[in-house]
């Protein structure tokens, strides 16, 4: 199934590998930070709803 | 406004550093490049226009953060912002003062350094002319960058990162004028484009810079 890339195999495969690495890094980083912030926000919201119970907290961030 | 200009000039000369530093740096670049590249005259003559322009650009960069930083620290920028003259005018005057203490001396010193770099005599006039037309743009663009970073503690490095990409067109057209002039080619087009950049920057960027200062003073 693998096409014959001939003498240019390094260039073609290198391009695909480099792109995959860069995109994967970006996606993983974005997802990781998203999860991190979401967790921290949920924690603080829960804490504030418990202690203060102020009306402004009830609106939720979703 | 003239009083402000005189005040800025006097401060720049008196405080030391600001005035002579750029020139000394320019001289150092012109000395270091042949030491690095080798003494061959033909090679030096070929790269001289680019080196002199890059050197002038970096020398200009050195003193940019002083345009607003000192006034920001001692609070006189707040006074200037509330003064009857528009903040855009203040920016323009400060850019002009910066040019008078860096751009103008660089322009005048350039032929001397061009001798060190073996630039053919036919290029001297073009070198001075292109620097005289181009360096005001460097000062105005730099004033914009300084306005963006004025509130930051260590804005110096960030300032160069922001300003250097903005210098690209000026550098290209400026060095191109010298290169073509030295080779005896037609220089009208790059010269006109260089002048266009300077005039447009001087006309528009003070507004952007003043907006940035207002944000920073908020």
């Amino acid at each position: 199934m693998m096409p014959d890339l001939g003498k240019y195999a390094v260039a073609v495969l290198g391009s695909y590998a480099a792109t995959a690495a860069l995109v994967a890094a970006l996606v993983v980083l974005s997802l990781w930070r998203s999860a991190q912030v979401r967790r921290a926000l949920a924690e603080v919201e829960a804490r504030q709803a418990q202690t203060a119970g102020a009306p402004a907290m009830a609106q939720g961030g979703k | 406004m003239i009083a402000l200009l005189i005040r800025d000039l006097r401060l720049a000369v008196r405080a030391g550093g600001g005035f002579g530093l750029g020139l000394a740096f320019f001289l150092l670049v012109a000395v270091l490049v042949p030491l690095g590249v080798g003494p061959e005259g033909r090679v030096l003559a070929m790269i001289a226009p680019g080196i002199l322009w890059v050197g002038a650009l970096l020398a200009c960069l050195l003193s940019l953060d002083r345009i607003f930083a000192l006034d920001f620290e001692d609070g006189s920028l707040d006074l200037l912002a509330t003064a009857p003259i528009p903040l855009e005018g203040v920016v323009a005057v400060k850019a002009l003062a910066h040019w008078l203490v860096t751009g103008l001396p660089l322009t005048l010193a350039a032929p001397v350094l061009a001798v060190l770099l073996n630039l053919p005599v036919s290029g001297f006039g073009w070198l001075v002319l292109s620097l005289a037309i181009g360096t005001p743009a460097l000062s105005v663009i730099g004033a914009f960058g300084a306005a963006l970073t004025v509130g930051l503690k260590r804005g110096g490095l960030l300032l160069s990162l922001l300003v250097l990409p903005l210098y690209v067109p000026t550098l290209i057209f400026g060095a191109e004028v010298v290169r073509r002039g030295t080779a005896g080619l037609e220089t009208g087009t790059p010269l006109a484009l260089l002048a266009a950049i300077t005039l447009a920057s001087a006309a528009l960027l003070p507004f952007a810079a003043a907006a940035a200062i207002r944000v920073n003073l908020r």
């Binding site: 199934m1 693998m2 096409p3 014959d4 890339l5 001939g6 003498k7 240019y8 195999a9 260039a11 073609v12 290198g14 391009s15 695909y16 480099a18 792109t19 860069l22 995109v23 890094a25 970006l26 974005s30 997802l31 930070r33 998203s34 912030v37 979401r38 921290a40 926000l41 603080v44 919201e45 504030q48 402004a56 609106q59 961030g61 979703k62 | 963006l148 970073t149 509130g151 930051l152 960030l158 990162l161 922001l162 990409p165 903005l166 690209v168 067109p169 290209i172 057209f173 191109e176 290169r179 073509r180 790059p190 484009l193 960027l205 952007a208 907006a211 940035a212 944000v215 920073n216 908020r218």
Partner: protein
């Protein structure tokens, strides 16, 4: 209580983006998988370029999106500066690293393509040079965002920088064109892509472009949501400290 007004718009955005995000992400991976597999396995070699023509499926979409990302940032900055919608400023912030990565992809794949075709990794061709300058603009923009602590100040200043930077980026593009033609005659290394590309390569390329566009949208949505949450988090923490 200004915060209620401040969050009204972001709330709507969070709802909409929350519903859109899975779809764009799924569609993007579908398009990218289809397009890249199609392009990689089922297209013939180009008679001039051999198998390196397969790089086109990464290079061209990434380069397109690198520029489009900056345009999107420009529009978002203008919306922020004129209408003061916080989501807009945060979307511009979220898009910058995505645009930077796409620019880097375009540069890296270009270098890998250039080596066998032109015999050099890098040439000071107008197109390559302007992309390098675009990278510098992205770096400066991101650095300015991360240097300023107050979020509204940062949004204002980066917005101004984005507008001024756009003008200078366009200017650099023409300056670079002028510079290279003026110096080295005729070293026209860019390929006439649209003109002489045949349908065999064109259709998978279209799918890949769609995939990259959707990937950009999905990533910007995700990152904007993160930025909004981060803003809310810091607002809540500040209120907590106030007591």
């Amino acid at each position: 209580m200004s915060s209620l007004w401040e969050y009204a718009n972001p709330q709507k955005f969070m709802g909409l983006s929350g519903r859109m995000l899975p779809w764009t992400a799924a569609l993007s991976s579908l398009c990218l998988t289809t397009g890249l597999i199609w392009g990689f396995f089922f297209t013939p070699d180009d008679f001039r370029q051999g198998s390196t023509v397969r790089i086109i499926y990464l290079h061209v979409p990434a380069a397109m999106m690198a520029i489009n990302a900056w345009v999107m940032m420009l529009v978002a900055s203008l919306v922020w500066l004129i209408r003061r919608h916080h989501v807009s400023a945060l979307a511009a912030k979220a898009a910058a690293p995505v645009g930077l990565i796409f620019t880097l992809i375009a540069l890296v794949t270009g270098a890998l393509w250039g080596q066998p075709m032109w015999g050099t990794w890098w040439a000071w061709d107008p197109r390559l040079t302007s992309f390098l300058i675009l990278t510098l603009f992205y770096f400066g923009y991101i650095a300015l965002w991360s240097a300023i602590e107050d979020p509204d100040t940062a949004a204002d200043l980066t917005g101004v920088l984005c507008i001024v930077g756009s003008v200078f980026a366009v200017l650099s593009r023409y300056a670079v064109n002028f510079w290279n033609q003026g110096l080295h005659q005729g070293a026209s290394l860019s390929l006439d892509r649209q003109e002489n590309i045949s349908d065999v390569f064109w259709f998978p390329l279209l799918v890949c472009i769609a995939g990259f566009v959707l990937l950009f949208v999905a990533l910007v949505l995700l990152r904007t949501r993160t930025e909004i949450r981060a803003r809310r988090l810091s607002a809540l923490l500040a209120r907590e400290r106030m007591g």
